[in-house]
Amino acid sequence: MRFSQLSDMNAILGSSLSKSFQHYQVLKEVSVEIQQGECYALFGPNGAGKTTLLRIFATLHRPTSGRFEIMGMDGSRDRVKVRNTIYLIGHGSYLYDDLSVKENIQFAIGIRGWNPTDGEIKKALDQVGIGRFSRLRSRYLSAGMKKRLSIAKALLIRPKVLFLDEGYASLDERGVDMMNECIRTFTKAGTAVLMTTHDRGPTAEVAHRVGVLNRSALTEMTVKEMVAADALF
């Protein structure tokens, strides 16, 4: 495969993961393997468990049964080590309303034990197209700008595994292009990207593999099949 030039180790390895909330089983025996430098797109109807799967890999939920590995480390036992390698862009913006864009970035990165220089922050902000707003309080940011800010953080953190929940949501057309550009930057650097999405068009440009999660089970397909299919679910 063309993306496996870096290493044979799986970035994400989930084997027979199940998860139930109260009396509702969301995931049932889901297994998935994602390699380093690979972009894996997850499709599925609402409530199929895409976000839940992502959050299990991001160590936010514990699976009811089954196990998973991130970069070869056990996701239940080596949580701290796993967390060193991952970053999740989820529904929340992780921002503090009364701190400026730059201060928010300084806090989010600084608390991980690394203080980026002003230049590095500016470069990342320019790359996602919000360099002009670095002194604006994040209270005044729109949803799309918050999304861009999250990507800027990811660019600075340089995780080994990046999770994108609804990657293209609330982004404009140029934002979608910018997002794809960033995803390519990540995968080239060897980062595995796992994203949930509903937009087949932009996904086809970056994804290497596609999975459809439906009725709490996962079916895999190639990008070509995904584009050709009438309906995914």
């Binding site: 909330f21 109260q22 009396h23 089983q25």
Partner: protein, 237 residues
């Protein structure tokens, strides 16, 4: 698998606890109410002791088991242990309320007041409030794991706080009302010791039995809900 094994064990052993507790309580009640002699100072009223003290002791036992189960849950994260925590909290609240009520009834003829700010009473009242808070917290949390973890944390904090509360109230009492109400120790005659011991062990064992039954009950309710949910889920899907 752990849960089924655990529940199977409970089902196997619970009846012995129940039988022994029943026999001890029956004999204890008979000796306490019928054959034992009244106390020198308190007269017949001392018979309340045979129910009040075992209830209070069992409330402490229940709270301690809630604490141990909570630590066990945080360690192993088995949902059946969380059921045991929930069961222990409910029983603890029941026995605390019973202890407070019988203590209050005992207090009227001995201290001539339904309620005094005695350190032991005050600590029990605070324990009661904490347990009510615990059960309220459980009802207000929807996520199963979050509920189990958060309530375990609250139980542990509350248990660690209890001796400090008791100690501080004791100091405060000794400052404000040194003499007017004294908890005069009951001199225990041998024929009073028999029903007292029987009732103490009996109610303690009864609590163990009730804990086993209630843990099963909560687990089974959970299981039934899960099964109905799965049927629902399959019907929809």
């Amino acid at each position: 698998m752990v849960a089924t094994h655990f529940i199977g064990k409970l089902r196997k052993f619970e009846k012995w606890f129940g039988i022994v507790a029943g026999v001890l309580i029956a004999v204890g009640l008979y000796t306490g109410l019928v054959t034992s002699s009244p106390d020198y100072y308190q007269g017949e009223v001392v018979r309340i002791m045979y129910i009040h003290v075992p209830f209070a002791q069992t409330a402490m036992l229940a709270y301690s088991s809630l604490f141990l189960c909570s630590i066990w849950y945080l360690w192993k994260r088995e949902s059946v242990v969380d059921n045991a925590c929930h069961a222990a909290a409910g029983l603890s609240l029941f026995f605390t309320a019973g202890g407070l009520l019988t203590g209050s009834i005992w207090g009227k003829p001995t201290w001539n007041a339904w309620w005094v700010w005695d350190p032991r009473l005050t600590s029990f009242a605070i324990m009661f409030l904490t347990l009510v808070g615990y059960l309220m917290l459980r009802t207000f949390l929807d996520d199963k794991e979050k509920r189990a973890t958060f309530s375990a944390i609250l139980a542990i904090i509350g248990f660690i706080d209890l001796p400090i509360i008791h100690f501080s109230v004791e100091w405060w009492r000794s400052l404000h009302q040194p003499l007017s109400v004294s908890t005069r120790g009951v001199s225990i005659a041998p024929d009073m010791l028999i029903p007292f011991t029987l009732m103490s062990f009996g109610v303690g064992l009864l609590f163990t039995y009730m804990l086993m039954v209630r843990t099963q009950m909560l687990y089974l309710e959970h299981l039934l809900e899960a099964k109905q949910g799965r049927l629902l889920n399959e019907g929809q899907g």
